[in-house]
Symmetry: C2
Subunit: 420 residues, 2 copies
């Protein structure tokens, strides 16, 4: 793809035309090789945000991104994988990966880092002393084979085209297009080699997509794209108007996963989504009556035991998980008046938790004591913040709780589900 041809391709996209599959192949190959420059790629990306991508274009772009690097091979292991578009207190992966493995289905989870106000699964695992996520492909495979599950960072050798393109889109404000987003997500999952993939698309004020219809469109696109690669796939659209779990902050969210799997503390919203995602993973792997298997794996302690083994395999020191406690000092944030907790500003709490962990380390963060819908009296505990600097953040944390005389209307937590 030389400069004049690329210019003509940009012009056609700018004018609303669809580019051909082999053009996308050449564009991505040229961009990775450096023959297509960043200026031309940025202009094309903005034209894509403007005009959108046809399904065939998105598929061609996804294929080109997959082809830009290596692909993991799993032989007969047939692992599944899941992806969340990111939210606040979204500890689903740390819970569901060992849970599904304990139900007999191998899980090879490729994860990312925190982005903006949302947490990243890798950061959460690494809050436990000793844990490594930069597994070489051979170590990743060996662990899935031996333990039944692993959570690893995307290798630099998988879809380097996506890494380069995403960095460009981030800098040039060309992230928000369903086709570009879907190609980025699906290319990584396909290169990871999973035989079935479940997507958890978050919608709401605390997610990157605010509207449910937008999220449903993305969910359909993700499953259709994945199916076009011959892999069955399911997508859930789940609510992210409020924080999902009750703990916000890398280590605190790992602690919440531990307590969830042990059965000592299960935030209601988090539990609904974990069971739905685990069910979708098992169903997409052909398991019948997944709900019963999930219940058994939780009740028997098998899921928690699998969680410990996975962390140990990735380097956790013995006893580290049990020893994990929130950072000090703890500061109570109380209600200044009575009312219903109508809304909780997930973005504000996500940002406060990020500031707390930046100062106080991985065990700092926020515990939400009154989920949305609760009734509180003056002086009731709304939240507890952990770690140094909590005092200065207290007003922002308190303001994140919108207290109202009337309760909010109940909203469904799993907004939609689709499969392909």
């Amino acid at each position: 793809m030389d400069e004049p041809r690329m210019r003509r391709a940009i012009a056609r996209k700018r004018d609303g035309a669809a580019l051909a599959a082999d053009e996308w192949t050449e564009i991505v190959a040229g961009f990775v090789a450096g023959t297509v420059g960043e200026a031309q790629m940025a202009a094309l990306a903005m034209a894509c945000v403007w005009r959108g991508l046809a399904f065939e274009e998105t598929l061609a772009l996804t294929r080109a991104l997959v082809a830009s690097g290596e692909t993991l091979e799993w032989a007969a292991l047939d692992p599944v994988d899941k992806h969340s578009t990111g939210g606040v207190a979204d500890g689903v992966s740390a819970i569901v990966v060992p849970l599904v493995a304990a139900c007999g289905i191998p899980v090879a989870k490729l994860s990312g880092r925190a982005l903006g106000h949302t947490g990243g699964t890798l950061d959460k695992l690494e809050a436990l002393p000793g844990v490594r996520t930069d597994l070489a492909p051979s170590a990743f495979r060996a662990q899935v084979e031996r333990v039944g599950c692993a959570i690893a960072a995307q290798s630099e050798r998988l879809v380097p085209g996506d890494k380069k393109l995403y960095a460009l889109r981030d800098r040039t404000a060309t992230v928000p297009d369903a086709g570009l987003i879907a190609a980025s997500i699906v290319s990584k999952k396909i290169a990871g080699g999973a035989v079935a993939i479940v997507y958890d698309v978050k919608a709401g004020r605390g997610a990157f997509m605010h509207g449910a219809s937008e999220a449903i469109e993305l969910a359909r696109l993700l499953t259709a794209l994945t199916r076009a690669f011959g892999r069955p796939s399911r997508a859930l659209v789940t609510d992210m108007d409020e924080p999902l779990g009750s703990r916000i902050g890398t280590g605190l969210e790992l602690l919440e996963a531990r307590d969830f799997l042990r059965g000592t503390h299960r935030a209601a919203r988090l539990e609904v989504v974990c069971r739905a995602v685990a069910g979708a993973l098992l169903r997409s792997a052909g398991v019948e009556s997944p709900e019963e298997r999930i219940e058994r794996a939780l009740a028997s302690g098998a899921a928690y035991e699998r969680f410990e083994r996975m962390l140990a395999a990735q380097g956790a020191r013995p006893g580290a998980l049990d020893a994990l406690v929130p950072a000090t000092p703890a500061q109570r944030i109380v209600a200044e008046r009575a009312g219903f907790v109508r809304e909780i500003d997930a973005v504000a709490l996500g940002e406060c938790a990020r500031e707390l962990t930046a100062r106080g380390g991985g065990a700092a963060g926020i515990a939400v004591m009154t989920p949305a819908g609760s009734v509180v009296r003056t002086g009731d505990e709304l939240a507890i913040s952990y770690g140094p600097g909590a005092a200065s953040l207290a007003p922002r944390i308190r303001d994140a709780f919108n207290l109202n005389e009337a309760p909010a209307a109940a909203r469904p937590l799993v907004v939609a589900e689709c499969s392909a």
Copy 2:
């Protein structure tokens, strides 16, 4: 303008907001200094093509481009300048500049090179042996003072921001936006220091803008922007569905200007536009009854004499203008059937002429023998091509003449005129 602020500015433009004047100032300054990278600038340019620019944004961008370099100072000379958006056989500048000077109004014309299928005034002048257009500001001023007119290349020190931005827009298919186009044009004219400016906006198949309404919008914008800098300005929208003059090719167009000013050959369409543009220049300089002055300057030979003096001042060898003849061999292209010349494909002829001059030098090109509207019989001469390689181009040149049984409806040549 650091990277995060630039990203937020791109996002706001992407979402349809207008950027503030000081943001444009910082963006252009950063782009020229290299702190704003090409990828971000390209994404912003595409977002501008998508969302358009508000007038205040266009003005701020124009000011920022002017401020990126030096500005010519003319003291009491008070020269005027004109600009054409470019067409085929558009030899207006070479004719009008000495003509207006002969009417007593100094002209300091800054010109550009050929772009795409259109010719550039500098290339035409340089077809005459010895002529230089890279005049230093002091030489440019001295010549306008002494001869009354000069046609010079834009100095690298004037609006370097526009040069860098235009090159980026060209590569990234982000040229077609009225605001970006107007800022590019007006910034150069303002930096050139003319006290009044006339724009000739071409509309039609042979122009960069095909539709008249689009051209009228640009004409209004150019005059309003120029007025915002305190300079009076007029804009004509003129037809470019067919070639304007009867000669296409750098040297042939200079030859046509010579013959026009001498009075030995005046193509009808070219004459109408030359008189209109010269009239607008004189009117904007406060001259009353410009038509009479123009007639006198042409009839008396004063305009031709001024043309010779201008070329001599810029280095033309004595007698070179008289000695200019078309390249050989000449090849007649004749009509294969009878009919009305309904349309002449200006782009096709412009491209053929460019190929001929690339092979045969500045005196190669095409003479159109039957303007649109003519009646031809089988075997009549449609065109003559000059220079080596003419035989292979003959079919394309012939096909550029659309012969039809019915004549085309007459169209106005000056479509609109506006002033500010």
